[in-house]
């Protein structure tokens, strides 16, 4: 019997599909950002179609290099702006900008059951809505924008059941890091990761988006959260169109994994792989001193992330010699942080607040690390040189751990600070 991915793709094709099949699938939504879209625009123009297949189904979201910090970035932004204007696509200009994987769900641009392609490897994030969302290259994006369909291989499915009630300081980030520790960086290459179980059902949508975001770090094509009442409510509040929750009975999985979260400690990914994960009590991380803490990115820049950061920083200061950068995922979240008083808490603690976007995640614009510097970050990759100098090191963790570590200056369990 079909899995969720197979159920969505069968609906899309109008015929039953099986893993391994390569077919032409209509695309419900396509998007790109300021680093991938300009290349796609060049190829789109070569196709000679004149117009995009559906301006309402395409979003141009500059988020990596915004506001532009040099002439090259400015040119990329202008290229995006001109394309959006010419074709009437959805556009997030500077001043209304946000991280693409934050604003797409937040603004109801994707709904459960959709087939979504984005020219960004973390497009798997949108699978949290019960959609089939995959990252593609610029050529694929150009083609999808022109024709409204794309060739896709139907993936095998790895089902992951998270069981048990999580503790006070265990976050959705810890769940996905625990999964990566279990299956490794190549544990689901080309597969759809399907997330379910009682622990996932208890998560809000913010937490589910964090979970799906890191599916690519195991090689997954997408990370689909089994849709339920939480999904339905989230979509109903944001989407005008009808949608269907795909919850097939008795699916056949290629692989099944169980992660027991009952006594799961906060998890830390040690450089230089997101799958190189140990619990926070492990001696390999417990005494690591940090130069910088980063809270933001498509993994962890949403309401629950900012809220827990504020709760931990309340009445505390960032340790001397440590830089803390907080980057809200969208302008809506930035305004909310002001309204709720979180911004005041961040600034009072000594944090630097950044404008919405990708922030320091990839070491090309802000928060760049110097030689041998160490960061703790809520982002999704800790590859060599990811956040700056090749000798620098990035440890991945939840917002709670990153905030607590900013206060003490070393990798710290949140309960030590509260």
């Amino acid at each position: 019997m079909p899995t969720i991915a197979e159920s969505i793709l069968s609906k899309q094709l109008g015929a039953p599909v099986e893993p391994g099949m390569i077919e032409k699938f209509p695309v419900d939504f396509a998007f790109g950002h300021d680093m991938t879209l300009p290349a796609a625009i060049k190829e789109f123009n070569e196709l000679g179609v004149g117009s995009v297949f559906d301006p309402d189904a395409i979003a141009v979201i500059p988020d990596h290099l915004i506001p532009p910090h040099n002439e090259h970035a400015a040119e990329l932004y202008s290229t995006c702006e001109a394309f959006a204007e010419e074709h009437g696509t959805i556009f997030y200009p500077q001043g209304r900008q946000g991280q693409e994987h934050v604003v797409i769900p937040e603004d109801g641009l994707v709904k459960p059951g959709d087939v979504v392609v984005g020219a960004d490897s973390h497009t798997c994030t949108e699978g949290a809505l019960g959609a089939f969302a995959v990252g593609v290259g610029s050529t694929d994006l150009a083609f999808a924008m022109a024709f409204g369909w794309l060739w896709l291989r139907v993936p095998e499915t790895t089902r992951v059941n998270f069981t048990g009630k999580i503790g006070e300081w265990t976050e959705p980030k810890d769940l996905v890091l625990a999964l990566l520790a279990n299956i490794g960086a190549d544990g689901a290459v080309g597969h759809a990761l399907e997330f379910g179980g009682e622990t996932v059902r208890a998560l809000d949508m913010d937490g589910r988006l964090t979970l799906s975001n890191m599916a690519i770090e195991a090689g997954g094509a997408t990370g689909i959260v089994e849709p339920d009442a939480v999904t339905e409510q989230y979509a109903n509040e944001r989407v005008d169109e009808d949608f269907k929750l795909h919850t097939p009975k008795h699916p056949t999985y290629e692989q099944k994994i169980k992660i027991d979260c009952e006594n799961l400690e906060p998890q830390i990914a040690i450089p230089e792989s997101p799958a190189n994960v140990v619990p926070i009590s492990d001696t390999r991380v417990s005494d690591i001193e940090i130069d910088q803490a980063v809270i933001g990115s498509c993994t962890n820049s949403r309401k629950r992330d900012l809220q827990i950061t504020a709760a931990i920083l309340e009445d505390h200061s960032v340790a001397t010699g440590v830089r803390l950068i907080v980057t809200p995922g969208s302008q809506r979240l930035e305004r909310r942080a002001i309204r709720e008083g979180w911004t005041e808490t961040f600034l009072k603690a000594g944090a630097t607040m950044e404008n919405p976007g990708c922030g320091a995640c990839f070491g090309m614009r802000t928060g760049v690390l110097d030689e041998n510097e160490v960061a703790i970050s809520t982002t999704n990759r800790n590859f060599p040189g990811r956040m700056g100098d090749p000798t620098s090191a990035v440890y991945l963790a939840s917002p709670a751990v990153a905030a607590a570590s900013a206060v003490t200056g070393r990798i710290t369990h949140p309960r030590e600070v509260i």
């Binding site: 196709l47 000679g48 490897s121 290259g137 050529t139 060739w151 080309g190």
Partner: protein
């Protein structure tokens, strides 16, 4: 007909084309540094018609299309691997680089073997060992993409025939 160049498992996109050489998307320019991270002599030794043989998870890492473009620029007939990372596989097909899966490729081909790819018959022939290997049969329209010279060229035929 060409010579086999053999590599191991988990060859990532940075090994295929190190980031410092990504100053252009021109396959010929990229080819000068192709596979430099795995074998610095490869670009000097490879000639058109040769084949690249690898283990599992070839092309893991970035979604950048420069990696398959660099290989395309060398003029090799195909990349034959035990398995490919998903986005690399797509990008290769889309730019017209044949990527062929042979489950025991590294056991059946050794560096320097005389290897010929018969794409139309779904066969890779190792003439040195007199061995014939079956390769995956692509669906017809994926072959059309490869034969057209890539997804953009394929798309041009659709737009010219107004079949959008």
């Amino acid at each position: 007909m060409g010579q086999a160049f053999c590599f191991g498992d988990d060859i990532d996109t940075d090994q295929i084309i190190p980031a410092q050489h990504i100053t252009s998307a021109d396959p010929t320019a990229l080819a000068d540094h192709c596979m430099e991270g795995a074998d610095p002599t490869f670009a000097d030794c490879v000639t058109p018609g040769d084949v690249l043989v690898a283990g599992s998870n070839f092309g893991c890492g970035s979604s950048r299309e420069h990696a398959p473009l660099a290989i395309l620029g060398t003029g090799v007939d195909a990349v034959i691997a035990e398995s490919f990372a998903r986005i690399f596989f797509r990008n290769a097909i889309n730019i017209g680089l044949p990527v062929l899966t042979v489950s025991d490729a590294t056991d059946r081909m050794t560096a320097g073997d005389d290897v010929e790819v018969h794409i139309e018959d779904y066969i890779v022939e190792n003439r040195t060992t007199d061995d014939q290997m079956e390769i995956n049969n692509y669906p017809d329209f994926v072959n059309e993409i490869i034969e057209a010279g890539g997804l953009i060229e394929y798309g041009k035929t659709l737009s010219q025939s107004n079949t959008r």
